[in-house]
Amino acid sequence: MPANFAPTALDYLRFLPEILLIVAGTLIMVMEPLLGENKRNAFSSITLVGLIAALVAAVAANDHPGLSFSNMLIVDGFATFFRVLVIGVGIFTVLSSSQYLRREHAASAEYYALLLFSISGQCVMATANELIMIFIGLEISSIATYILAGYLRDDKRNNEAALKYFLLGSFATAFLLYGIAWIYGSTGSTNLTEIRNILITGGGAHSLTLAGTAAALMFVGFAFKVSAAPFQIWAPDVYQGAPAPVTLFMSAGPKAAAFAVFMRVFIVAFGPITNRWEPFVWSSALLTMVIGNFAALMQTNIKRLMAYSSIAHAGYVMVAIAAHNQVGVAAAMFYLAAYALMNIGAFAVITHFSRQGEKYVNVDDLAGLGWKQPATAALFSIFLLSLIGVPLTGGFFGKFYIFKAALDANLVWLSILGLLNGAVAAYYYLRILVVMYMHEPGESMVTLEPLSPGIRTTLWAAALGTLILGIFPSLLLNFATSSSALVK
């Protein structure tokens, strides 16, 4: 370990996106009392500027890859990928939120500040090379998200969501922390690469058992964060109760970041004991897909339906992790990006459609949307078809790469069962299409307003992204493949 603890300029450059996000968040908190609540646009503009600056910084930092702050952080293609992804999710969230906040008469400054803090936490997670950093990043991200889930504090559903999320989340984080303590106790390190080396070389049978236990404990923590079975119970209630744009954010950003650390920890640090954790991830993946898809079949509330769908999709990514090869990592990266796009699109439609007080959140309320607002419905259809996994959409290639990786790793049965799950999933997505296009419009269509500019931008951009990933997947996959070597 280097003795020199004074950070260099390069260290700061590599950490710049996080710094910018924190600065922007703090700036908003300082300016709120000065400007007052009626300057809503100022806050969203600052947030957007901060996010775009962070995006540029993240891309720029990729030109200077390497470790920084005494090996605490690592900037590599993998980190950049997830930084860009979560910041991108943040931009879409801001675009979809402004109208919602105005509609619900909610204060906007804290909302944007919390959003920025949450994203900075996810960026730390993406770059963390060390268990304590992972924990800190996870907590920054989670605490901000807990508050966001209950942001409309007069709303009962919001309160329930936040409380559940907070209590269960804290409990899961405790497991994670306990796992970190075990692995530190058995290897004397919290650095992922060092843990790996110790497990490869010095780890006797005794130490491997300890490491296995640590892996199990940390698995609980991560599985909770990505809503993988059997730790998915919180997701439907929280997704349903939280404000729609927050659900949009939660289902894409924190989830992607959690998967990033999941992969980094299990493939780098616990890579030498793959044979111990692979069966667990395998069964969790299958269970997650089955629970998510079958439970979604019964839902009538569209947010809850999408929550179960989100669980199911976490199961697909778990398949890629179970494959524990480089192709699997690349596939998971691609999938998370494609999933973020299509899910953001779907939740943006829900945000738009639900109206004040989230009055219209049942699947049946969408009846006739296809003829009332053809463009919205057509874009929604693209997202739904992508979630089903129909070719020429990003969701298809995502699934394809995942199951290709799984077959590379000889997980034949997992692949067959996973793809058959996809056919089950088609049913509940099709139900939304059926309602939109094949049912007569109901009273929910009468008060429907045109799309707000922010949501319109989100929808078109997400749809374009979904189609581009579906027609020219190489654009993203090549980058994912080149940065999927986590073990150097």
């Binding site: 067959i416 088609a426 099709l430």
Partner: protein, 521 residues
């Protein structure tokens, strides 16, 4: 850029253009769709050129370039003697479907024609793809427009039928996707020709259990689409509930995706597994032939009757394929085309009747021949073609299939021939109940065929006659391509079976092939 690329992408271009047309211009949208689909048809006629006037190699109009770099997915399209005719069938039926829907589709006109053209894009692509992945993409893409066509413009139970149709196909294709990826991991390519060559020369050598599972993965996906008994239950629902154009495309073209897949992928890639399973599959095919015909016999609903007759007719195609004889293969392909023309025409006739009476129940009709004699004549020719009357198209296909099967096992032929007899029963009975007798109040006011309806039915009738009398326009190109597929499969057969069969072949060479070999000499 070859002519084929143009034929594949013109429908997509037309689809995108329709999306930008203002939806109030209903007449304009109809005209545009008609002109576009006719233009596509004319363009596709050019694909015949090398087969009638030239000396084609294995594939023509080949385009092959990389689409996705990792994994190596290629845009590899071409036609051979099998694909060619299926593409033409698709491009011929699309303008006819536009005409059929001219009056009968009254709501959401823009979306209807857009989906019809998107469907054409998917279907043409399926028949021309020589990259497994590309094939799968088109296979799935064709599913979406058909789902909407049934679900939005269908009859009473359209939503149930649409969802059932989608889920059945989806479940099958999930298995096929596993098979495709598994093959890729072994062969390192999705390219059909390379995988086939690898499998034949042994550089790609899955063990026999693997072959069997791969065969089944593909087979189930295709069997659902054909459909082979007992996977057929989605078909009556989808056919009955679909609008006329949807039924036509579904019966005439989409079902052929399944039989085409069997012939193109299942059989040549896994010949040993195919041979070993052929007994079971033929049994299912024969059950399908007889069962489909028997169920058709008792249907009170015209569309359902035609739908079940499709189950029966498609059984012949499967029978022909799994007889692994030259005649069987040729007959299967010919039957695919014939069924496409005659069943398409039958659905169109039912559509004509429905437009006049707004009922699909046979009981609602009777005596149609009195007020609308020309309609009755056209219906009669179509019906006779479907039965398999000599000089009309279906006869050729069924005859060849039965001849091919007879070389292997006389019993199969005997059972399958029952289906031919039954088809005469249900069709003639249908015709009798609909067209003869005394015209009741509603029926007596029927108008006869109008110009639009003539222009739909005349081309189909002419084609039925042409395919029934002048088979030499089609058979040589088909034979050439099926022989390529048959060769390696035949080589895998037990020696004594092969010898016995070839002996029989010499003894009873069909006049058709005798003429061909005379030509060759």
């Amino acid at each position: 850029m070859t002519l084929l690329d143009l034929v594949i992408f013109l429908p997509l271009a037309a689809f995108l253009l329709i999306l930008f047309l203002p939806k109030e211009h209903e007449e304009g949208i109809r005209r545009f769709s008609l002109v576009a689909s006719l233009a596509i048809f004319v363009a596709s006629l050019g694909l015949i050129g090398p087969y009638w006037f030239g000396n084609p190699g294995k594939f023509v109009f080949e385009t092959d370039f990389q689409w996705v770099s990792s994994p190596n997915i290629r845009y590899h399209v071409a036609v051979d003697g099998i694909s060619l005719w299926l593409v033409l069938l698709t491009t011929l039926l699309t303008p006819l479907c536009v005409l059929v829907s001219w009056k009968s589709v009254q709501k959401r006109i823009k979306e209807f024609f857009a989906f019809l053209l998107l469907l054409e894009f998917g279907l043409i692509g399926v028949f021309c793809s020589f990259d497994l992945f590309l094939f799968f993409v088109f296979w799935e893409v064709s599913l979406v427009p058909m789902y909407f066509l049934i679900g939005i413009w269908g009859h009473e139970r359209r939503i149930y039928a649409a969802v059932k149709f989608f889920l059945y196909t989806m479940a099958g294709s999930a298995l096929m996707l596993v098979g495709i990826i598994y093959l890729y991991n072994q062969a390192g390519t999705f390219d059909y020709a390379k995988i086939l060559a690898g499998l034949q020369n042994g550089s790609v050598a899955p063990s026999y259990p693997e072959q069997l599972l791969l065969f089944l993965a593909f087979f189930i996906a295709f069997a659902i689409k054909v459909p082979i008994f007992p996977l057929h239950t989605w078909l009556p629902d989808a056919h009955v509930e679909a609008p006329t154009a949807g039924s036509v495309m579904l019966a005439s073209v989409m079902l052929k995706m399944g039989t085409y897949g069997l012939l193109r992928f299942c059989v040549p890639m896994f010949p040993k597994a195919a041979l070993n399973c052929s007994g079971w599959i033929i049994t299912l095919a024969i059950i399908g032939i007889v069962y489909g015909a028997l169920v058709a016999l008792v249907q009170p609903n015209m569309k359902k009757l035609v739908a079940y007759s499709s189950v029966s007719h498609l059984g012949f195609v499967v029978l022909g394929i799994f007889s692994f004889t030259q005649q069987g293969f040729d007959g299967a392909v010919y039957q695919m085309l014939s069924h496409g023309v005659s069943t398409g025409a039958l659905f169109i006739m039912v559509g004509f009747l429905y437009e006049r009476r707004h009922s699909l129940e046979i009981d609602a009709y009777g005596g149609v021949a009195t007020p609308a004699p020309r309609l009755a004549i056209v219906f009669m020719i179509t019906m006779l073609a479907s039965i398999g009357l000599p000089m009309l198209n279906n006869f050729v296909g069924e005859f060849l299939v039965l001849q091919g099967t007879a070389l292997i096992n006389m019993w199969w032929t005997a059972f399958a021939a029952v289906g031919v007899i039954l088809s005469a029963c249900y069709m003639l009975w249908l015709y009798q109940r609909v067209c003869f007798g005394k015209a009741s109040g509603e029926v007596s006011g029927f108008k006869d065929l109008n110009l639009r309806e003539y222009s739909i039915s005349i081309p189909l009738i002419l084609l039925m006659l042409w395919m029934g009398t002048f088979t030499q326009s089609f058979i040589p190109s088909i034979s050439q391509s099926t022989a390529v597929i048959l060769g390696p499969v035949d080589a895998k057969r037990d020696v004594h079976v092969r010898n016995a069969m070839h002996g029989a072949l010499h003894a009873q060479q069909s006049p058709l092939r005798a003429k061909e070999s005379a030509d060759a000499r």
